[in-house]
């Protein structure tokens, strides 16, 4: 009575034109380096394809002045420069590779924003799961200009933006209206925010001393002592990197979720994917 009803689709998928993929998130006072890759059409995908590009011409500009052509390092797979990123400087990247449209992006290195203070209040509250939580009060001074973006990480090991592979993290709760969730812009006091990715911007505290109040379960600070000291990383990032990371986290969280509408990861690369940015960061130990 019921016949077969499945067949390969006849969908007009537009011809896919591969683009260059640039990724660079250099720290202030470090040399600028870039990975160059390529995208490929999903219907042309073959296992084992090498998606890196090692024959690109990568040019770094300060404003409109060419600083240098970056050199490919086969050991690291990156294009490296001798230019050290300086806060407040504008850098432009232009990348050309045979068969691809020129990809370009620009960024301004954000200023160093130090952590002004950390206060830990033990057993400050009990959360909805009846677990004791400590309160963390983190203060920093937001620069007077508008449009500052921050990503805060609280981890036990693997400190710093360059390493989080062996880190321990936990849930963070907050009632701070300036903290943005990945999937929800206004997390409430019960929303579990990954302590590695706490997003905030200065819309509500521009030019002021910001005290960020966060709650974490007490055991996180004490039970992981053997692995290392819990630390806070305050990253002052560009708007582009902020958006890239939020959408990247969102895509990763919703991979395979049939209820989620698929969305593209943000990019500031013209004619390409990825992100080109510079960040500054400060680290402090939580006592």
């Amino acid at each position: 009575m019921f016949a077969s009803c499945e067949k390969d689709i006849d969908v007009k998928v537009p011809d896919y034109k591969p683009l260059l993929v640039l990724n660079s998130n250099t720290e202030v006072d470090d040399t600028i380096r870039v990975t160059v890759g390529k995208s490929e059409g999903i219907l042309n995908y073959k296992t084992g394809h090498n998606l890196s590009v090692n024959n690109a011409i990568v040019q770094l500009y300060s404003g409109s002045n060419l600083l240098e052509t970056m050199k490919y390092d086969s050991a690291s797979g990156t294009y490296n420069s001798k230019t050290i990123a300086v806060e407040g400087e504008k850098y432009t990247l232009k990348v050309n590779a045979p068969g691809y449209a020129e990809a370009s992006a620009a960024t301004i290195a954000p200023a160093f924003v130090p952590i002004a203070g950390i206060q830990r209040i033990k057993n400050a509250r009990i959360n909805q799961d009846q677990q004791q939580q400590d309160e963390l009060r983190i203060t920093f001074n937001d620069p007077p200009t508008k449009g500052d973006y921050y990503i805060i990480s609280i981890m036990v090991t693997g400190i710093g933006p360059d390493s989080n592979s062996n880190s321990y993290s936990s849930c963070v709760n907050t009632i701070d209206a300036s903290v943005e969730g990945i999937s929800s812009d206004e997390p409430d006091q019960n929303t579990c925010i990954d302590s590695r990715w706490i997003f905030t911007r200065d819309d509500l505290f521009n030019g002021k001393t910001k005290e960020l109040r966060l709650f974490m379960e007490s055991y996180f600070f004490d039970n992981n002592r053997a692995a290392g000291s819990p630390e806070i990383v305050l990253q002052h990032v560009t708007e582009d990197y902020f958006k890239f990371q939020k959408t990247y986290r969102f895509a990763a969280d919703n991979n395979g979720n049939p209820f989620a509408e698929p969305t593209n990861v943000y990019t500031n690369i013209k004619n390409g994917y990825g992100v080109f940015s510079v960040l500054s960061y400060d680290v402090a130990e939580i006592k």
Partner: protein, 684 residues
């Protein structure tokens, strides 16, 4: 916008289930020959965008598994897009499914589907009259943006017994009509139940409906109608762990959802017959409860919505050439989403909550007048003032309704109309799938009422001696304050729904053509619509405009019914529809992990709804044989073939790995192939 009468032929069976006396209290309608009357009204009055399906015609339209369904029949008319293949979702003129006001004897139905929306809650055996409005809405209707589906059940005869039994492949239904007190009180009692669970023991699911209608003729001027409906979808599994056979390892899952409605209407006609008043009070509730249990783990999630309302409607013909309607309505909405009960270790994950309890009051007053300026010009003007009060804000909206008809000849007319509709509650579906668990939300201080403004114009032609009619209508609709879930929203177990919604706007426009023949051996219609439906939300799709979920560019339906002889007839349906849009992955790339410790693959997608599934084309047939079992007992047997050519009716697209070619490909899945089914209707 099409004023459409779907053809039907009154026969012994259908006339036995239609009581013409019951309808005389409907002003402006003369039930002499319903075909002719409806067709003639298409020329004579200002109403546009009205589709009326006689139930007898419905029974002849081929249907999936032989289960004729009023909403699926409506999907064959221009301007009504189907949702997922085989489902009863209605997307009217670019609107979404929650923008349809569905009334059953005056009470709203909040979830009109059974079996995940593959069957409607309407038992054909109970239906008397079905009207769908797509534009030019009479001022007495409001509360939804895109359409009104007004369904009335039968009132039993006051002096005669009737019974009807429909035996189908998936479900069977029965309807009994009997006078309780001759010439005073009659009762219609009907039921329907599926028997999948009885035939296939591993599918412990069924749905059922019970309809009751009590009719009390107090005197010639006063009538009382009590209509009660109850329907349920029930799934209950109880799987024993085969390995250790221990009672504690039993996995139990359950789903119980359904509507309950009740309406009481007092109909009064003045001695002069120039005033008709209807006073209605109603109750409507939709609830769902999903539960799961294994050993000491147990969780259940419940949600409900409930309305208690009252309407007073007056139809006046006291002024010469004027037909006036005035009325008032008030309704109290109660929402209680996401009630969670859990125990055992699941408490930690789900917790226990009574959910939010929200009450909203909504009220409206209206006045509407239709009058003839000259023999050629007819005008309808009306306004509805509606409003609702939330805890922090009160909304009041005027909803003007205007219609104009110019008669070109005795058989042709042109019309134009404008209507505003306001909707004070939203139902938001998950992005990729529509479930009965989709929740209704009331407006709040932050979530504003949805507003639609629709202009339409049309040409109508009616060849009375051949009973052939033609209409062509164009429309443009603006939609404001539409709601969608934000990207990554928590769909369930969320007590602060406002945070998960974003608002945007939309528009739709199109052309609808309809050619129908309503008498003779060959009857049927040809309908075509060219339509565009767009959405724009600042926080979705990068703020760019995108196609609505069920935007289909072309829709063509050919429905033919041919009486071969007095006993034999055949029905044939052909439909063609452009594929629905979807968001697809077109590329991928890799991004270094922070610290360049590895790489992660990222997907590159098209914009929202930028790709389309392939078009669907389907041919269905129904062969009917009418015969007499006895002099009083008549029957008609149906053999229906759904999707004769076994063409895939696309409903979903997946990107899958092709092992032979070592690459990805898109695969389109269809729900139903050819389905042959038999059914038998017996009328006593």
């Amino acid at each position: 916008m099409l004023a459409l009468s779907i053809p039907f032929t009154v026969n012994a069976q259908t006339s036995s289930t239609t009581n013409g006396k019951q309808i005389v209290n409907r002003l402006n309608e003369v039930v002499v020959n319903r075909n002719t009357t409806v067709q003639r009204q298409m020329i004579e009055n200002t109403q546009m965008g009205k589709t009326e399906i006689p139930v007898s015609a419905l029974l002849k339209v081929p249907a999936i598994a032989g289960e004729a369904d009023i909403i699926k029949a409506l999907q064959l008319t221009p301007g009504v897009k189907k949702g997922t293949e085989g489902s009863i979702g209605m997307y009217v003129r670019g609107g979404s499914n929650d923008q349809n006001l569905i009334l059953l004897d005056g009470a709203p139905i909040y979830n009109a589907g059974h079996l995940l929306g593959f069957f409607s809650v309407f038992n054909n055996a109970t239906l008397n009259n079905v009207q769908l409005y797509k534009s030019s809405f009479p001022a007495r209707y409001g509360g939804r943006l895109s359409s009104v589906l007004d369904v009335h059940t039968k009132e039993a005869s006051l002096n005669d017994h009737h019974a009807q039994l429909n035996i189908g492949t998936i479900s069977s239904s029965g309807c009994v009509q009997l006078p309780v007190i001759k010439d005073k009180v009659s009762l219609m009692l009907a039921g329907r139940r599926t028997y999948i669970d009885k035939v296939m023991k591993n599918v412990p699911y069924h749905f059922h409906d019970i309809n009751t209608k009590l009719f009390y003729k107090i005197n010639t001027a006063n009538r009382l109608y009590l209509s009660i409906y109850s329907g349920r979808d029930i799934l209950k599994t109880n799987n024993l762990d085969r390995k250790n056979k221990e009672e504690d390892n039993r996995i139990q899952t359950g789903m119980n959802l359904g509507n309950n409605t009740a309406s009481l209407r007092w109909n009064h006609m003045s001695a002069s017959g120039k005033t008709v008043a209807d006073f209605t009070v109603y109750h409507s509730a939709f609830r769902y409860n999903m539960s799961g249990k294994m050993t000491t783990n147990q969780v259940s999630v419940r949600s409900s919505i409930r309305d208690i309302g009252a309407n007073a409607d007056f139809k006046l013909s006291v002024f010469n050439k004027h037909k006036t309607g005035i009325g008032i309505s008030i309704v109290n909405h109660y929402f209680n989403p996401n009630i969670v009960n859990s125990n055992g270790p699941l408490v930690e994950r789900f917790g226990n909550t009574n959910g939010q309890k929200i009450w909203n009051n909504e009220a409206a007053v209206y006045i509407n007048d239709e009058f003839a300026l000259t023999n050629q010009w007819q005008v309808m003007a009306g306004v509805r003032f509606s409003g609702t009060a939330t805890s922090h804000k009160t909304y009041i909206n005027p909803e003007p309704r205007i219609g104009l008809r110019y008669k070109l000849t005795d058989n042709s007319a042109i019309k134009t109309s404008y209507a505003r509709m306001v909707q004070y509650l939203h139902m938001v579906s998950g992005s990729s799938v529509a479930l009965p668990t989709d929740l209704w939300y009331p407006v709040t201080a932050n979530i504003k009422p949805g507003i639609s403004d629709q202009v339409s114009a049309g040409y109508y032609y009616y060849l009375q001696d051949k009973n052939i009619s033609f209409s062509a209508e164009v429309y443009y609709k603006w939609l404001r304050n539409l709601c969608e879930y934000k990207e990554g929203a928590m769909l369930m177990l969320n007590n602060n729904y406002e945070k998960e919604l974003v608002t945007g706007k939309g528009n739709s426009y199109g052309l609808e053509l309809m050619l129908s023949k309503t008498s003779g051996k060959l009857t049927g219609w040809l309908g075509y619509s060219l339509s565009y439906a767009n959405r724009q939300f600042d926080s979705l799709n990068g703020g760019k405009k995108y196609f609505a979920r069920y935007d289909r560019r072309h829709d063509l339906s050919l429905v033919l019914m041919y009486d071969i002889s007095k006993s034999w007839s055949i029905g044939l349906t052909n439909t063609y529809a452009t594929g629905t849009p979807f968001t697809g992955q077109t590329g991928q790339y890799i991004v270094p992990s922070p610290g360049f410790t590895g790489f992660e693959a990222m997907s590159a997608y098209t914009g929202r709804n930028e790709l389309r599934m392939s078009a669907s084309f389907r041919t269905d047939a129904d062969i009917q044989y009418k015969f007499n079992i006895t002099k009083r007992i008549k029957a008609d047997a149906h053999l229906s073939i759904y999707n004769i050519f076994n063409r895939t009716q696309p409903y979903a697209v997946q990107r899958v790995w092709d092992e032979s070619k070592k690459t990805y490909k898109y695969q389109q899945k269809g729900l139903f192939g050819t389905i042959t089914a038999a059914s038998l209707n017996i009328n006593i």
